[in-house]
Subunit: 235 residues, 2 copies
């Protein structure tokens, strides 16, 4: 009988795992010996904090990141096909959403392997909760284009869709470009459009705020290198 692929959330960068990880999730991790991880160093550090019952050196780690090839992903299935359970851990938050883990999950389904998602912190869903925007209809569209004319075009497109379909639009940027994105947003969006920013979620410096573009313009926060989720909604 094949093993189970457990999708194990990790923190959003905080050391205090008890803030965001349920007790059951930590006990599943403690029972697991084979891990597929996006970054071995952060995964080891996280599992050390969970107080694994065996030395970290006795655990098996396989890497799955944006450089992994399809044959390499295939090889990650082997322990599962041998009947062992495997834990998938991304660099931050829930795995297999905005990281390469989804390719292993897709392959697991093709081979009839049971996939068990576990509850934990998702910065996307926490930003949506904190926004007060429509959560009956929302989209997360990942990164916006880097080139300024393409980016502005995309911002206008998202604003229009949020109005036409009453669909909240969430997106991200590489943290060192957050301030540029915020500048593009306040110059491109209509003054009445609502803009939400969730920044440093679960950290002591956490900020969550929804207000009109006009209000954001009065006082712009410094988001440089701070992990942030942006959301817009236009009525």
């Amino acid at each position: 009988m094949a093993g189970t692929l457990y999708l194990i959330p990790t923190t959003l960068g905080s050391d205090r795992w008890q803030d965001v990880i349920p007790q059951y999730v930590s006990s599943i991790a403690r029972d697991t010996r084979h891990f597929v991880v996006e970054d071995i160093r952060t995964a080891r550090r996280y599992l050390s904090r969970l107080e694994m019952p065996v030395p970290i050196s006795e655990l098996h780690f396989e890497l799955l990141n944006e450089h992994s090839t399809q044959p390499e992903v295939h090889k990650l299935l082997l322990p599962l096909l041998d009947g062992l359970s495997v834990g998938l851990i991304s660099e931050a938050g829930v795995p297999a959403v905005a990281d390469p883990g989804a390719s292993l999950v897709a392959l697991a389904h093709k081979h009839g392997i049971k996939v068990v998602p576990l509850a934990g912190p998702s910065s996307i869903i926490m930003a949506l909760m904190a926004s007060g925007f429509n959560g009956q209809n929302f989209a997360f569209v990942g990164y916006l284009p880097i080139k300024s004319n393409e980016r502005e075009h995309r911002i206008v497109q998202l604003e229009q869709r949020s109005r036409d379909e009453n669909q909240s639009q969430l997106f991200i940027e590489a943290p060192y470009r957050n301030n540029q994105l915020l500048s593009s947003l306040v110059t491109t969006l209509k003054p009445e459009t609502l803009l939400h920013i969730s920044c440093d979620l679960t950290l002591p410096t956490e900020l969550t705020l929804s207000q009109s573009v006009k209000e954001w313009k009065r006082k712009m926060p410094d988001l440089h290198k701070r992990p942030s989720i942006f959301g817009i909604h236009s009525a």
Copy 2:
């Protein structure tokens, strides 16, 4: 100084809160005396399980559901403006996503009240994790139309968007109509389109499976009255 609005997740229907609720979230709930809830009975039961340090009868509950008027939502702000912290709890999972709680969050931002989202189970994000679908670009679109011709039109539209934009499309149905929705899906979608179903998440009867429409047709699960999230992705 105004109080804080804590967005407190609850379980997805399981009694075992430790499976999905982090320890810190339970401690925030234990420190709170004022709650705004979607359903008073389920909120009381949940808080009893969390072992509140005071009798449940000494807690303050205010209702916020789909019948609440805007003036009623305004009144819910009063304890916050008086400096008291308030916990928002929905009927299942994280609050203020697919429930009326978002209106209180939106109003809190207008009054400069701090909003703190807490980590917990979101059936939408857990289904996305379990799907193996693209999570860099996804939409949750709520309920599909009930009338069969409108519903089929909408299904075709979602399938097309998932292909044109490489955007995974997630949606739900009232649980007693799940089997009808599944029938519409397998007759309307292309045979090669991938369909994901996450059903009874976190319960002993949990099912998560992604496969082509052609494969679903061979063996249709009985989803009647079982809370489910549906997802499609067309390549």
